[in-house]
Amino acid sequence: MSGPAIDARALTRRFGTFTAVDGISFQVERGEVFGFLGANGAGKTTAMRMLIGLLAPSSGSATVAGYDVATQAEQVRRRIGYMSQRFSLYEDLTVRENITLFGGIYGLSNRDIAERTGQILSRIGLQRAARELVREIPLGWKQQLAFCVALLHRPAVVFLDEPTGGVDPITRRRFWELIYEAGAEGTSVLVTTHYLDEAEYCNRISIMMDGAIAAMGTPSDVRRGLGAATLDEVFLRLTRPGAAV
């Protein structure tokens, strides 16, 4: 793959008269961890859904892993991983069965599946729970498992929609270690989050407001650009311009 992992150009999505995403343009490089920030309803999830082919853009264009999301959806799908806001593995299948299922869906060979299952289980320390129903394991582990499943087929880009919602701080930290590992292995990561401390971990961030990108850059660039000491402050200034900070 040459060129950026994600290249969005004036990407727009309207629902009737409401413009959810309003002409956003940005690029994500290979191996980069890119944070997508914004208040609820700012358009983060809509933008992400266009990039993963769940929603057609109203105008503008985007390529993911070098393929156009509107016209080459099939190629895009082979090269991306996705983890949704909601936990979305099969609760009534075991850990191992879930991994095997998604491995099969992505066309991995049985040997690859067996090998990667072992890697995943040892990486997140779930070996003993391999035969347990996913329903039975704690949420923190479920989220890590879902992330590993999203990476199972070694995608070029992985999309994480608020992956750390509702998990404890230790698991969140563990989760970010996993994200860094993925980035280090060359996988680009686009992650939406509410947690501003997490945003500091990103290589670059963009802050969305009312469907448009209000600020973009490395966390320190963004802070400096607005003369703010913390990302919290940045966020407040952008979302509530009148408020004294």
Binding site: L54, R78, S88, L89, L101, F102, G104, I105, G107
Partner: protein
């Protein structure tokens, strides 16, 4: 192909691990056969009957004795006129009336046509049809014996169904039950299992993956096809074991046609699931939109001929209506494909249309 196999395996595991639902699905056909078999009694006894005999003579006395002797009937009264009949029917003390003309013996002797009126309480259509059949049989036998010269049938029984003039006779319930059970197993369960994935968010994971929507659906429905066949066999075996319902025609043809109807139902389930956002909506849609028509508009419970014409017209788009003709034809009449090809073709056509509709909606993906 491999992703589909993995999917079939997954779906089978879902089905097997949800013990309660599985138990219901397997017990349902058996319970239904027993309920319908015992509740819908097809033999009627002690029908309160009135014979209206304006001019009693030897011939009418003979007929009255035959009626009284039969355990099917209880001769309530012999009346000289029809004056009391309306009120007797209304209060239910009489359910059938045999109205004889004047001078029966003389007419029989002359070989005249005999106009006998048979009135039946048709408020319960199935029972009404059975009662009508019994009375007609008694009349025919009596007439045949009363005219030993056998100058051909001269009797003419004008029957009229009170309260429900156009009813058909009772049917065996098993063919309808096959359609009913298959609608539940195939359409309802498919709709629920697809919308469940929408609700839990796993559908999103699948739609983001390279697996094609058609493969998702194929993988999801395969276990339900198998379950559908099991249900058909359960109904047939139970009906035969408990009620000795015959299977006149070919079992193979019956299973093949059931296979077709299973696919029709699955397609209906898919169409519902592409529109319904939640399991609850899907279930209501399947109950109101599929099960009710299958029960009411297929000829299973109410004969189609007795429906008002708008509903009769509507029944043409109910797949169960055509499937019922096929199953009844095979099971009760021993009919084969040469007589049933039209209904089969209609079902196949519906199936293709539904599958196209379902897959078109699916390719639009989640939005």
């Amino acid at each position: 192909m491999r992703p589909i196999l993995g999917f079939v395996r997954k779906e089978t595991l879902h089905l097997l691990r949800d013990r309660q639902t599985l138990a219901i699905l397997i017990l349902l056909p058996l319970v239904q056969v027993l309920i319908f078999g015992f509740a819908v009694r097809t033999d009627v006894r002690e029908i309160p009957i009135v014979v209206v005999d304006p001019t009693p003579d030897v011939a009418t006395l003979e007929l009255r004795e035959r009626v009284a002797a039969s355990e099917r009937f209880r001769l309530v009264a012999v009346a000289p006129s029809t004056r009391e009949l309306d009120s007797q029917f209304q209060e239910g003390s009489v359910r059938q009336a045999l109205v004889l003309p004047r001078d029966v013996e003389r007419r029989l002797g002359r070989g005249d046509t005999l106009a006998v009126q048979l009135l039946t309480d048709g408020s319960d259509p199935n029972t009404g049809g059975i009662m009508q059949g019994y009375a007609t049989a008694v009349l025919r036998r009596w007439h045949a014996d009363a005219t030993p010269a056998a100058r051909g049938l001269r009797i003419e029984v004008a029957t009229r169904m009170r309260f429900n003039p156009t009813l058909e006779s009772a049917h065996l319930f098993v063919p309808g039950l096959v359609a009913f059970v298959l609608t539940i197993v195939s359409a309802l369960m498919t709709a629920i299992s697809i919308t469940r994935e929408k609700e839990t968010g796993t559908m999103e994971m699948l739609l983001v993956s390279p697996i094609r929507p058609a493969a998702i659906v194929a993988g999801k429905v395969t276990p339900y096809i198998a379950l559908g066949f099991v249900s058909v066999l359960l109904v047939l075996v139970a009906a035969r074991a408990v009620f000795e319902v015959p299977l006149q025609g070919s079992l193979l043809l019956l299973l093949a046609e059931s296979g077709l109807y299973i696919v029709t139902s699955l397609a209906l389930g898919i169409v519902i699931s592409t529109r319904a956002p939640t399991q609850r909506t899907a279930m209501l849609a399947a109950l109101a939109g599929l099960l009710m028509p299958t029960l009411m508009l297929s000829g299973f419970i109410f004969p189609l001929e007795s429906l008002p014409s708008p509903l009769q017209a509507l029944s043409h788009i109910v797949p169960a209506r055509w499937f019922l003709v096929v199953v009844r034809g095979i099971m009760l009449k021993g009919a084969g494909l040469p007589t049933l090809w039209q209904e089969t073709l209609i079902l196949a056509g519906m199936t293709v249309l539904l599958l196209i509709a379902g897959s078109r909606r699916l390719t639009i993906r989640l939005d």
